[in-house]
């Protein structure tokens, strides 16, 4: 058996990679995928803790996270499609109308 802390460290690693991914990708789709990566890293830690405490709450939470993430992806992709339709490019650095 691998110690459960390994799972948590893996989760932290995936989360960090996801974070960096959000910050370095210019394509909104790839940023979005990085966010999904972060979601799933968190899911892994939830399930690890659920296993540790043999508590189904963690599982329920992951389920809810997956559901909400699905909703979020639907909305997010719709927004990206709309942006793409009007701007004909997909570069977040070009979307800086709110510049101070």
């Amino acid at each position: 058996m691998v110690p459960l802390s390994y799972y948590l460290i893996l989760s932290a690693l995936l989360f960090s990679i996801g974070t960096v991914g959000v910050l370095v990708r210019r394509n909104p789709l790839q940023m979005f995928m990085s966010i999904e990566l972060m979601w799933n890293a968190v899911n892994l830690s939830f399930i690890t803790f659920a296993r540790q405490y043999t508590n189904m709450a963690g599982h329920v939470f992951v389920f809810l996270v997956i559901t909400v993430a699905a909703a979020e992806v639907a909305i997010g992709l719709a927004i990206i499609v709309v942006v793409f339709r009007t701007r004909e490019h997909a570069d977040v650095d070009e979307l800086n109308a709110m510049k101070g």
Binding site: V22, L23, L95, N96, A97, K99, G100
Partner: protein
């Protein structure tokens, strides 16, 4: 008596319907609903009075409680109605005369584009007044009190396109609210000292107050009463309130609003009994106001203004009465006044209506032949107002003067008698100027429609015969009717009331009044208005015509003070308030300027900032702690 709340609900409903559905319902239906609400309220009141009369006098008091409004520690305020002969009298006046005025308004406001709004306001006014007179505690009295102030503001300023009307409405509201503050302060004292606001609770514990406290409460209550009832020097709003439509003037002057002060003093008689200084003050100011306003009324040329000052003068009589504890006499005069003053106002309104909104008496005259009904009913009203023997005003005014004399207030009596002379003079001057002589205007006078004359006739019957409920030396049904109210707590009944009438004094006032009528006839019944005055009288006329310069004085004193205060406030505003405000703004501005380069618009930069912040938090949590 649980059902007495219906009397309040009817005008409330009427007002609401007229306000919300008025446009949809149209003029006719709206007027039917609102006038019908008042009629129904009047009939309801009659049934209530009838049921009261069926009971033995000692049991004629009901205090149904409907719900609890405030429950704060020891302080508990319920919404309850107090139905006893005093409030029933006011209910009758408000609903009865109110109904007639509503009816009259249908004719008077015929062409007004905001007909429905007017009737909504009228019903609202009636509701507030009914709440005022039926509340069983000071707090709801204050609610009604404020409601009356608001409704009067709306009604006086009804023609809100006239700047003068708006100014008058604002003036009335400001002075009224000044009075409201007085009542509020009195209420605070009562809550602080007694912890209760209901009439029963306060009146049965008046003895536990120190004399200073009770004098203070009485003075503060009187401040409210004086503001609402236009006592010197707070009377200035009332003549200006003539800017409203004439039915409003009638409603405010005769039936409702201005009598609220008299009601308050009469209702709070245990307090005023325990505060002799305040009571003397009330009586003194009352007598002075009676004389003061009567003298002004003599020289005014605007028909409504004369009647307005007449009201102020008559209110002075009432305050004189309640100030010397002649409560029943005061209420008696109030009731009679309600009849004849409503009559006078509606008669004046009829004249104004007939002359296409002409209000200057110099352009009237000789209307007798054009408007017979108005003429005869107005004559009755004038006679009652003057106190011509055997008219209602005669009985009630003499009741007050007689009790003033019997209770040893000789100087007050004397002032009252002099004021009676002027009263007769000004009202018959008005009467002769308007109806006798030759017509001096250029309109086409005509008699008013029945919807306006019928209320006049009804009111003239009241003004003619109302006084016979209390014939000196024979019977006094009015005193008997009110006795249960004023015998509940000490101080309600003046010992002198039972004394035999002073026939000599009555005869004296009668002669004086008749003399005044003669003088008026002699000088004002002619075909032309005398413009020249004896040189000796000119300065006096000038002073009187300008109402003793009270407005100017008040203007000077208050405006000067307020101007100086405003300069100070302006300085404060600029330096301190603006300093803080602008300083904050500059601070925020500066921060914004300093930070705006970081609002790069690059979402990845923001994300990086979030990450750095998050890393710092995690570092703090894991490494420092």
């Amino acid at each position: 008596m649980q059902d007495a709340i219906g009397i309040l609900l009817l005008p409330a409903l009427g007002s609401l319907i007229a306000a919300v559905f008025g446009r949809a319902l149209g003029r006719k239906a709206t007027s039917y609903i609102t006038v019908g609400a008042m009629a129904a309220a009047f009939l309801w009141t009659v049934s209530v009075v009838w049921r009261l009369l069926a009971l033995p006098p000692a049991q004629r008091s009901f205090d149904p409680v409907y719900w609890q409004w405030i429950h704060a520690g020891a302080l508990q305020v319920h919404f309850g109605l107090l139905i006893d002969p005093l409030s029933a009298t006011f209910l009758l006046i408000v609903t009865g005369i109110g109904f007639l005025i509503h009816l009259y308004s249908i004719g008077y406001m015929e062409g007004d584009p905001n007909f429905q709004r007017f009737f909504s306001y009228l019903n609202l006014f009636a509701l507030a007044m009914l709440l005022l007179v039926t509340a069983d505690n000071f707090l709801f009295l204050l609610v009604g009190w404020g409601g009356v102030g608001v409704a009067s503001y709306l009604l006086i300023g009804f023609w809100h396109t006239r700047p003068s009307a708006v100014t008058a409405a604002r003036k009335a509201l400001v002075l009224n609210v000044a009075g409201d503050v007085g009542i509020m302060l009195a209420l605070f004292i009562l809550v602080m000292t007694l912890g209760r606001v209901s009439y029963a609770g306060v009146f049965s514990h008046v003895s536990s107050l120190t004399s200073l406290q009770v004098e203070l409460v009485a003075f503060l209550l009187y401040l409210g009463a004086a503001a609402k009832s236009a006592q010197f020097p707070l009377h200035v709003w009332l003549p200006d309130a003539m800017e409203g439509p004439t039915p409003v003037s009638a409603l405010i002057h005769a039936a409702t609003m201005v009598t609220a002060g008299v009601y308050l003093v009469a209702r709070a008689y245990p307090i005023f009994h325990a505060a002799p200084v305040a009571a003397e003050w009330v009586a003194g100011i009352g007598a002075f106001t009676a004389l003061f306003a009567a003298t002004i009324a003599i020289v005014q040329n605007d028909i409504k203004r004369v009647i307005a000052y007449s009201t102020v003068s008559q209110l002075g009589y009432m305050f004189l009465a309640v100030g010397i504890s002649a409560y029943a006499a005061g209420i008696f005069h109030l009731t009679m006044h309600a009849f004849f003053k409503a009559l006078l106002f509606l008669g004046a309104g009829s004249v104004i209506h007939a002359l296409s909104n002409e209000q200057d008496m110099r352009k009237m005259g000789g209307l007798k032949k054009y408007m017979p009904i108005t003429y005869w009913t107005f004559l009755i009203g004038a006679a009652a107002n003057a106190g011509v023997p055997l008219f209602s005003g005669f009985f009630s005014k003499d009741a007050i003067l007689g009790q003033a004399l019997a209770s040893g207030h000789f100087w007050l009596w004397l002032v009252g008698v002099v004021a009676a002379f002027f009263s007769a003079l000004y009202i018959f001057r008005l009467f002769f100027l308007v109806f006798h002589g030759k017509y001096r205007g250029d309109a086409h006078p005509h008699e008013s429609p029945p919807v306006m004359t019928v209320p006049l006739v009804v009111l003239s019957i009241g003004a003619l015969l109302g006084g016979y409920v209390a014939v000196p030396g024979a019977w006094n049904l009015f005193d008997q009717w009110l006795q249960p109210v004023f015998s509940r707590y000490p101080g309600g009944i003046l010992p002198a009331a039972a004394a035999a009438p002073n026939w000599g004094a009555i005869a004296l006032t009668s002669v004086i009044v008749l003399a005044a009528v003669y003088v008026a006839w002699r000088y004002f019944a002619g075909d032309v208005v005398r413009e020249e005055l004896p040189a000796a009288l000119r300065p006096i006329h000038k002073v009187l015509y300008n109402k003793y310069y009270i407005d100017e004085l008040g203007h000077a004193v208050f405006v000067w003070t307020v101007d100086r205060l405003a300069i100070l406030a302006d300085l404060f505003d600029r330096v301190v308030v603006d300093g803080i405000g602008m300083g904050m703004a500059r601070l925020v501005w500066g921060w914004g300027e300093a930070l705006s380069p970081y609002e790069s618009g690059y979402i990845r930069r923001y994300g990086l900032a979030v990450l750095i912040g998050g890393v710092c938090v995690v570092a703090f949590l894991t490494l420092v702690q």
